[in-house]
Amino acid sequence: MKIYLKIWRQKDASSKGKIVDYTMDGVEGDMSFLEMLDILNEDLIAKGEVPIEFDHDCREGICGTCSLQINGRPHGPDRLITVCQLHMRSFNDGDTIVIEPFRAKAFPVIKDLIVDRNAFERIQQAGGFISVNTSGRTVDANNIPIRKENADKAFNAAACIGCGACVAACKNASAMLFTSAKVSQFALLPQGRVEAAERVQNMVKQMDLEGFGNCTNTGACEIECPKGISLENIARMNREYLSASIKG
């Protein structure tokens, strides 16, 4: 396949970036998208040019590190996968592919296609945990009865890998799906109920401080989430937040 690439290049955080055109010949359908970029980078290095920086780690769809906006969609055209799980068979010979970093004020570009997603880390640090004694006297979680329905919903929320596709897809760059998943995975379980009110207030406060946009319920985040995190989590977070705030 011959593929025409339009890739965002930006020297560093303070430089102004631009789209640069590249042409790739001999692209195989079985190549992963990141392998295709690896080969492009090998070509660039061979020519003495600066390779394109992009985030990647596990390449198994688990870590949430890869973060590319491909042809206007986070993680590309296929559903429920990350970029590293996207293969070139999803494209056709002669296609032009536009590759950009995830765009949000709270996700500043560091270089080329790499963005700083520490805003998510700070939201997590604000309350995305439970305070337990881990000295060995903790009750085994399997001994606590939990409704199957709640366990399933908590598991759905806990599947969030924090990749940021929800923010990238949202027209408002809202982080509500991410934050609500992290709130929900604890709010649905007895271990998390103890600090539920404090958690949701602190995490929402941090989310707002980071400069993410407001949710307008377009549902784009749910569609583009590689882990299929449900919009129900956002409603749950709203509920938890209102309840916690009113009770004071």
Binding site: G72, K171, V204, K205, N214, A235, N238
Partner: protein, 222 residues
Amino acid sequence: MSSLIKSSIARKVVMALSGLFLVLFLALHVTINFTSVISPDTFNQWSHFMGYNGLVQYIMQPVLILGVIVHFVMGIILEYQNTRARSIKYTKYKGAANSPWVSRNMIITGLVVLAFLGLHFYDFWIHEMTYKYLEAKPEDPTRYYIETVEKFAPIWRTVIYIVSFGLLSLHLWHGFASSFQSMGLNNKYTPSIKSFAKIYAVIVPLVFVFIAIYHHLNPITH
């Protein structure tokens, strides 16, 4: 409570509550308007009641105006913040692949409805205020039907009403059901709420359009 007022969730709840209040008002409005098609006398009675009842005039009317202002101002604030949240736009953004057009363009449909409200207020509210307070004319319980029908005589006004109600329908299509999600209600009843909201979003504006066309096609002959 102080953190609640500043939060993005609270802003969305204010948007949702003011929106639901306006949805409720629309149901009342369309019901009274529809009587103008069935019985001019009933329409006159209701209009006179709404125009001179103290509770309606001094409680309901200010609350309604406040509801419109809150919904509009909060919508502008949210839009401003949302635009700032992505200062550098994508070169290519395929919003249609993951969300309906109406959900992404509530500000457009909302601003058109707001502009229409300007005309609507000029047509009826300003006229009423002038009649009652500036000109201090006596009560006339028979005037409302004639005044309403005469408003729809020009084709341009009827067309503006039809287009505006089309946009209102799109606004309701997303906004009505969305307000429940904003308030934290997403459960087994959500599919039913969404269906009801969509039926409402079509039927109510359609009845308003029908009334406008009906009066345009059936002018009062003196």
